[in-house]
């Protein structure tokens, strides 16, 4: 039995303790916006926030997460897609297939919380998620648009 706080709500779950957080989120909690892409922390599709820090959940055993740590998934980033990063993504119509985009958005939101005005180099260094459809240039532009909207810092 493990207790987790996901998108603000406490959840008690029956799970093998070394199950990666990704699979707990997807299979026990049933939130499937967070994606599996590699399972070895190489692609970023599984990015969630833990206490506001963008984290790849596919290699993090659920037992390593404390009950009071705040886990935020794409579903909890905002109740209505109103987070500045989501808004910027919508304005620039960023996604293609969309599969990597939850991870991209969470990584971008995490970056802006740490660094409200990232340079291109900051973006290159921090956004290392893989997108095979090739949305990188629009991801970059949307991060800058969200940064300029100025609210990304306060919103988590």
């Amino acid at each position: 039995m493990a207790r987790l706080t996901i998108n603000g709500a406490p959840r008690d779950i029956e799970v093998d303790p070394d199950t990666p957080l990704l699979w707990v989120i997807r299979e026990q909690i049933g939130l499937t916006g967070t994606k599996y892409g590699c399972g070895v922390a190489a692609c970023g599709a599984c990015t969630v926030h833990i206490d506001g820090v963008a984290t790849r959940s596919c290699v993090l055993p659920v037992s390593a997460v404390e009950p009071d740590q705040q886990i935020t998934t794409i579903e909890g980033l905002s109740p209505d897609s109103s987070h500045p990063v989501q808004q910027a993504w919508l304005a620039l119509d960023v996604p293609q297939c969309g599969y990597c985009q939850a991870g991209m958005i969470m990584a971008a939101a995490g970056l802006l919380m740490q660094n409200p005005n990232p340079t291109d180099e900051d973006i290159n260094a921090e956004i290392t998620n893989i997108c095979r459809c090739g949305t990188y240039n629009r991801v970059r532009a949307a991060i800058k648009l969200a940064a300029n909207s100025g609210e990304a810092v306060q919103r988590g």
Binding site: T32, G39, G98, N124
Partner: protein, 724 residues
């Protein structure tokens, strides 16, 4: 996406002849008139393409698959354009493959590959929209007792100006569905388009921003089980034995099954538990006949083909052999292109529910009908007792079209747990080890230059793997694979060589290693453009002529090829020297019916490559959504540059060595150059946009690297070369 509710409507077949731009197309297509049951609650289907709900929502049916490329939005624009509906009221749905079969394939081909999503279906979907519009007008005219010719349709409304009457489509739909479809419709001239041709936002973005878009891997069905699979990693090998008892009592495990001859799967309550048990499952493989196969042995096989006597001829002009022997000066170079994995971000998956009477499959697929056929075959049931539900794809790139291995596997597993839906999801490792790989080929090019530096003869000998021979043998022509010559042929509309060379020979020595090849986004255009465009640069250098000027001399008969090349050259400032430390390269090719070119600016400092800027031009004839074309062009550089810089699946001991993104690196944000897209639609033809540009990415960059370093990189990927 809503499922279509009823497929059992009485149907009529009506021939529709059309005119477009004054041309009679002599086009015949079955349209089905819905005969709605009295009092039925379903929204009226005007025809196969258009359903209009009482609230004026227009549901446009999309037969091709959306996998990120924007086809869903583009096809909807084409229907909506002719329908004259209100774009803000448009939504879409996929008809199912079984419905297509049951209705005499009213939606045509479901296959989504070869950049054909729009260019092959634009005509009949536009006809679908136009026919529906005419039926709506006819319904209004009948209601008002006025001639249809006095009524007009605009923005989802039919009006009769003479009597100042107007009504919305939603009010007319039920009556329109009972109208006889017109025998003829005239399609709009693209220059009059107001919905098509415009950079409209995609229809499918919102759900991709908040986690609500459902992909195949996300599917949830009541009582669903999950399966993890491992197939024999050795090509041509199979399962010898496995010890199911060793994992049978692990948490969540329901059963351990063999899947066909080649794989084992664990079925459990959750996928993670299935995978955990699978990892612990002792399996003995029959490693099959290919244990000696390595990348080196494959390279040797292809090298032999470069000098072999026998080869299939793809293009021939004059007498290249004689001209080369007689030439004062020849230039020769050999290039090589390695295996690549599609590496879609969503791994292969399919969910199957089997009972002895029926089999249903939910699957992200580029070809729903191929999925249906695979499901029926694997289930051992008539196709009428099977159904496939298409789910949004997390990338396709060719992997999810012809190859339905995951569908067959899912059904094979489901047959062993009848009555319960089973979701099979491949691990990334499975995906890397069991690809339908971009084939490997090599090319030896020999060119003759006269005293004035003109190219007088060219021989391109391609040696290597045929995709068709392995996956679509019915497409072979007397043993020859015509697709091998993509972009290099002299005739046709798909992709001709953009150079006139008096003595030309392009031939192919087919050498098929035992590695499964497949259609990988861009297919054979990728390596063919690399070969011909890098070699043009080599020839120009040998002739002491500027690479653009050298090409121009050969392109007088190829104005469309030249136009895109000139466009990128002009935009990048080819005629003015770049800033210190910056170097440029060019490339052009024709493929998938479109003309494309790229210019690259790079710097190489202490062996460190930076791709600074790409200018790309494309002439696809007509453009349905320029914003989507831009996205496809940008994405093409990610795909093409991934192959150029990193992409390589190497073979050792009869299996692939790369198992995940830690060893199969791809382009990420930091590698990604700025991309400027020039769209030059010259009209009169319909070319694809999802693939052709990939092919010019690598040669433009490699030519720029030569300009920077004097090094010719002839073997991909770049990561294996020292640029210092």
């Amino acid at each position: 996406m809503n499922a279509i509710i009823s497929i059992s409507r009485r149907s009529f077949i009506v021939g529709v002849a059309t005119t477009a731009g004054g041309l009679s197309l002599g086009f015949n297509l079955p349209f089905i008139k819905a005969a709605l049951a009295e009092g039925a609650e379903t929204a009226p289907e005007i025809n196969a393409w258009v359903v209009i709900r009482p609230d004026d929502t227009v549901v446009i049916r999309i037969a091709r698959s959306e996998m990120g490329q924007g086809t869903l939005t583009g096809l909807a624009q084409l229907v909506a354009e002719e329908l004259n509906c209100d774009w803000s009221k448009v939504t879409t749905e996929y008809p199912s493959p079984a419905q297509n079969l049951a209705r005499d394939r009213v939606w045509g081909n479901f296959s989504t590959g070869g950049s054909r999503g729009i260019r092959e279906s634009h005509e009949y979907v536009r006809i679908g929209g136009a026919v529906a519009r005419e039926m709506l007008i006819a319904a209004a005219a009948a209601e008002w007792g006025v001639p249809a010719s006095e009524c007009t349709a605009r923005m989802g409304m039919v009006t009769h100006p003479a009597s100042d009457r107007a009504t919305f489509y939603g009010q007319l739909a039920a009556a329109a569905a009972r109208m006889t479809p017109p025998a003829n419709v005239t399609l709009k001239d693209p220059k009059d388009w107001t919905i098509a041709g415009k950079p409209l936002p995609r229809l499918d973005t919102a759900d991709k921003l908040n986690g609500s878009q459902v992909y195949g891997v996300d599917l949830k069905l009541p009582n669903m089980l999950n399966a993890a699979i491992r197939a024999c990693p050795y090509f041509g090998g199979k399962v010898e034995s496995f010890d199911a008892a060793a994992v049978a009592s692990m948490p969540g495990v329901r059963t351990v099954v063999q899947v066909d001859e080649t794989a084992v799967a664990v079925v459990a309550d959750t996928w993670w538990r299935a995978k955990t048990a699978l990892d612990a499952l002792p399996v003995v493989w029959d490693e099959g006949p290919n244990r000696q196969v390595t990348s080196a042995s494959i390279a040797a096989m292809l090298e032999e083909g470069l000098g072999a006597n026998d080869a299939f001829i793809g293009a021939e002009q004059g007498d290249a052999g004689a001209a080369l022997s007689a030439a004062d000066r020849t230039v020769t170079a050999t290039y090589a292109f390695p295996y690549q994995n599609h590496a879609t971000m969503e791994p292969m998956n399919a969910t199957a529910l089997y009972t002895p009477e029926r089999c249903e499959v939910w699957v992200p697929t580029q070809n729903g009908e191929a999925s249906l056929a695979a499901a029926a075959e694997a289930a051992g049931l008539p196709v009428q007792q099977c159904e496939v539900h298409k789910i949004h794809l997390g990338g396709g790139f060719g992997r999810r079209g012809n190859f339905q291995d995951y569908v067959r596997q899912s059904v094979s597993i489901a047959r062993q747990v009848p009555g319960a839906p089973v979701k099979l999801v491949w691990s990334r490792e499975e995906d890397m080890l069991h690809g339908a790989y971009h084939p490997t080929t090599r090319c030896r090019l020999t060119g003759a230059l006269d005293a004035d530096g003109n190219l007088t003869a060219l021989h391109m000998r391609i040696s290597g793997q045929s995709i068709l021979a392995a996956v679509r043998p019915e497409g072979m022509q007397n043993g020859m694979d015509p697709v091998v010559f993509q972009g290099l042929v002299l005739n046709g509309t798909e992709g001709t060589l953009g150079y006139t060379v008096d003595n030309l020979l392009v031939d192919h020595a087919m050498r098929n290693p035992p590695i499964p090849p497949g259609f990988w986004r861009g297919v054979n255009l990728n390596q063919n453009a690399l070969y011909v465009e890098c070699f043009m640069d080599e020839l120009a250098h040998a002739a002491g002529v500027d690479p653009l000027a050298f090409r121009r001399k050969l392109m007088a008969n190829h104005p469309k090829h030249l136009a895109v090349l000139e466009a990128v050259a002009e935009r990048i400032g080819w005629d003015t020297p770049p800033a210190a430390g910056i170097h440029r390269g060019l490339a052009q090719i024709m493929g998938f019916g479109s003309y494309v070119a790229a210019a690259a600016e790079v710097s190489v400092t202490d062996g460190q490559l930076r791709i600074l800027r790409i200018v790309a031009a494309t002439d696809p004839g007509h453009v349905v959504n320029p914003a989507q074309v831009e996205r496809q062009v940008e994405g093409s550089f990610v795909y093409g540059l991934s192959a150029c810089i990193y992409g390589e699946c190497t073979v050792n001991g009869g299996r692939m060595e790369q198992e995940n993104f830690d060893s199969y690196e791809v382009v990420r944000m930091a590698d990604m150059p700025a991309v400027e897209t020039i769209i030059l639609p010259s009209g009169g033809f319909w070319g694809g946009v999802g693939e052709p540009t990939i092919a010019v990415a690598a040669p433009a960059v490699l030519n720029a690297i030569f300009a920077a370093t004097g090094k010719r990189i002839r073997t991909l990927p770049l990561k294996n070369h020292d640029l210092a």
